[in-house]
Amino acid sequence: MAGYRVPLIIRGKIMEGPEVTFGGRGGSAEFTTPDVKLHLGKLALATPSALADLYGQSFEQILDFLAALGEKLSFKRNTYLQEAFELSRHTSGLGDEILRHHYETLHTFFDRTMLREMVDRTLGIPYLEGWVGSRLAGGGSAAIRAFGARAVHIVAGNVPGVSAISIARNAVTRSDAIVKSPSNDPLTAAAIARTMVDMAPDHPTTRHLAVAYWKGGDQEVESTLYQPRNIEKIIAWGGLASITHIAKYIQPGIDLITLDPKLSSTIIGREAFSSDVVMREVAERLANDVGVFNQEACVNARVVYIETGTHAQGLAKANRFGAMLYEAIQSLPSHTSGPAKSLHRELADEVETLKFAGDSHQVVGGGVKGGVIISQIEEPVDFSRLLANRFANIVPVDSLETPIRAVNAYTQTIGIYPESLKVEVRDRLAFHGAQRIVSLGFAARPVLAGPQDAIEPLRRMCRWIMDETCDPADVLMPSRTTAES
């Protein structure tokens, strides 16, 4: 396995120079890339004022460019994307068919309607396009405008869409991005950037994107790059290890936006168990939340609380529901979900052991096809954070207090059934730390026109500038105020 080359792209130029070799995930793929250390001087945008060229483009013109880019990102025709897919087959945790589906739909992140909705909902297009003024209660007025910033994006590689959305967010905010590619998806961001270079090498949006690979934590690269003279923002996806590296460089002048790892869960009310027909329908909806993206994403359900009760009858229902869920997961179409490419050893050990040791759990399935663990006690398995590759843990509860209390700051999405329950518990879930509450079955549906992980990344990516206007005739100057309060 060799022969992959990950380009270094800096502001419309494909860089050449001595190359270094890196191993991919699991030692199965190797790739070379120009040594970024030799190009560090050019990697960052020299001065913030160099962002000015982006302001020659209206928002609609930027959308025109992104929509055209979307068209060029047709998987059938775009050889860069095809190459990214080929390499990802070796580095990604996703199976080929699912991965291919991700690449075939990657262009949707550049859809004009969706992008316009995203920006209007989270920033307000007028704030990007000009100064939005309003009268102040104390006299005078203030105008506010959202400006772009120079940022490093440390993107996640579990799904290729993360690279795409990062590039789109950068473009619409008129920002400058250095995308640090992840080792489990080293080519997707580069493929999009190369397509932009082919399309319009001198377009300001192309000229404000750099894509590079270096090993996360490389001190020589990071201590040079992560300086307030080079960047204003770091947008970091990823876990404790990656954030711990970055935190060392945080100082006044650098804003760290973390989109850290989250886990998601499900709460299903007693209404779901009123009949076998409803149970099956609910199991199918739940299978979507568990299985789409093969449970590689933070939005996927892992622990599923069900209000069947923990008495013998309740447990029997839970076990039957577990079997239905397993069946529904197995029936998911192969472009959305399929058997794992490789077993996660630690998880497999835990699951296989539960099958014969102790009596606190039942297991349906196992191995690469995934499985369902049904707790026979009112609590999740101790290894719930390892659940992946389509393994769900069903936890029967007597009261919904149990799942509500289990929510914490690490909880991202909670899928809920029925709708009435969602309305009833959403405030309390939010108090405990939940960040997204969604109708059961739609946890894995990407909705970009809103907050992510309880923050608004698009707003945080901008620099919000105030222009205050005061006429001394209307507003008292401090020197003219009296001592009396």
């Binding site: 933070c298 996660h344 101790d382 914490n408």
Partner: protein, 477 residues
């Protein structure tokens, strides 16, 4: 090597696999492989036939794997318990002090019948372990655990006893030219441990049983850094506290007042450490130049050596001392040059060892850098991805499985979390002269390989809190 003919005959005739432990290393390692395999197969069959009905978990696993009898060594590969089996209970049993359910869980893993045991009066893990010590044959060995979850291995008094304890002789004694036929006089050797004197961790159980079966009531000194008991509760609680702190879930911890009181005791012990080390060194100074038994982990020894050096202590023990250095530098990085500091202090180098508390066997590197696990343990290699057992031919690399033929009250088969290379090939015998398959020194833990580089995903970080529990693990040894 001069194979001992009478032993070969005995091996094929009357010796059962478990009694191999009574042989000297020179006898043991000269038995032809075919004879060993015959013994191993006979032993394995006997264990399976006897235990499949008596150990519920084994019965369930065998029935799921549709295995009714053993006719080849490889037949038992699907029956190796994953190494996490002895901590497969829900952690909440400890959090809620639910020792009745914990006992029911343990009952599934031992041939002893624990169903009539009333543990309802136990309020802590230490209570429970002592209750089992007093009322049953089981002498639980627990692990140092992570996040407060300890594993509990139900080894019995009989399995710790006289004959079985002889596996430790094999650990210390050399083979052939290694010239370490030194277990004579073992019953008079003082024991030194830079750890706890009492407790149910593997090391503390070992001290307990050496005192019982080697010293046999003679007044032989046992000098421990901590003359107290290593509390399983403190260990578990410490792990849980740190894990909960790391997750911001401290408020949700369920702690009984009894356990909280123990946290103070534990913290106090860590504060007394300085004085204890001085007392420990005072006691050891009196044994300078003597032949002793040392039991400990590399990290524990190193701290001991550094403290000793400060007092000008050097080359402390006789060269024929028996030194067991377990765990490598498990869970902590030692300072550059730690080996020299340590070996100068002890008075001799110590070869790396390989073993695990789940099996009653352990070995130091031979002079040619390989590990030879005593043949009452059957070795398996399993393919990491397919789970298929690898052939016992040539040189293979895979996940190590072991079947210890010594225990008769719990299942001796384990699938470890270690990747290793084994040479099975008779023609490629190790140059040290030992007959039989051997482990290369390329041991790697799978957990270090998985996610060892800069993988970034947006979904959960299982290791998020692992750093936090190290302090307690180091103390535990």
């Amino acid at each position: 090597m001069n194979a001992n003919v009478s032993v070969q005959k005995a091996a094929t005739g009357t010796l059962d696999a478990a009694r191999l432990v009574g042989l000297t290393p020179n006898e043991l390692w000269s038995i032809p492989s075919a004879d060993i395999e015959e013994l191993q197969l006979a032993g394995l069959k006997e264990r399976f036939d006897r235990l499949v009905m008596r150990i519920p978990a084994l019965g369930r696993l065998a029935s799921e794997q549709k295995i009714e009898r053993i006719s080849r060594l490889d037949d038992a590969a699907p029956l190796l318990f994953r190494h996490n089996v002895y901590k497969s209970y829900p952690l909440s049993f400890l959090e809620k002090s639910d020792f009745t359910r914990l006992t029911r869980w343990l009952d599934g893993l031992t041939a002893f019948d624990l169903s009539q045991l009333d543990v309802s009066k136990c309020e802590s893990i230490d209570d429970w372990i002592q209750f089992l010590d007093t009322n049953t044959e089981i002498r639980v060995i627990h692990s140092s655990g992570t996040s407060g979850k300890l594993s509990f291995l139900p080894r019995s008094e009989g399995e710790f006893a006289q004959l079985h304890l002889k596996w430790q002789h094999h650990f210390f004694e050399g083979f052939g030219e290694e010239g370490e036929h030194v277990v004579e006089g073992i019953e008079r050797l003082p024991i030194i441990t830079p750890s706890y004197r009492f407790g149910a961790l593997g090391q503390q159980r070992m001290i307990e049983h050496i005192a019982k079966y080697w010293h046999r009531g003679q007044a032989v000194p046992i000098i421990a850094l901590h003359p107290t008991r290593m509390s399983a509760d403190a260990l578990s609680l410490g792990g849980r506290l740190l894990a909960a702190e790391a997750k911001g879930e401290l408020g949700q911890l369920q702690l009984s007042p009894k356990l909280l009181a123990r946290r103070d005791e534990f913290l106090k012990e860590s504060k007394d450490l300085q004085a204890r080390m001085q007392n420990f060194l005072d006691a050891i100074a009196k044994l300078e130049g003597e032949r002793v038994i040392l039991l400990g982990l590399a990290g524990q020894y190193y701290d001991f050596a550094v403290a000793g050096n400060k007092r000008g202590m050097n080359h402390m023990f006789a060269a024929d001392s028996l030194i067991s250095m377990g765990g490598g530098n498990k869970n902590r990085a030692l300072a550059e040059g730690w080996e020299k500091t340590l070996f100068d202090f002890l008075g001799r180098p110590v070869r790396d060892a390989y073993g695990m508390s789940e099996i009653m066997a352990g070995t130091r590197k031979c002079l040619h850098g390989n590990y030879h696990i005593q043949p009452w343990v059957i070795l398996y290699l399993v393919d990491h991805s397919s789970g298929q057992v690898l052939p016992r031919t040539g040189t293979q690399t895979g996940r190590l499985g072991v079947f210890d033929l010594l225990p008769s009250t719990y299942w001796g088969g384990f699938l470890t979390g270690d990747e290793i290379t084994i040479t099975f090939d008779e023609a490629a015998r190790c140059r040290c002269g030992r007959i039989g398959p051997y482990l290369h020194s390329n041991l790697r833990r799978y957990s270090e390989q998985e996610g060892g580089d800069d993988k970034i995903t947006c979904a959960g970080a299982p290791q998020a809190h692992d750093n936090a529990v190290q302090y307690l693990i180091d103390l535990a040894g």
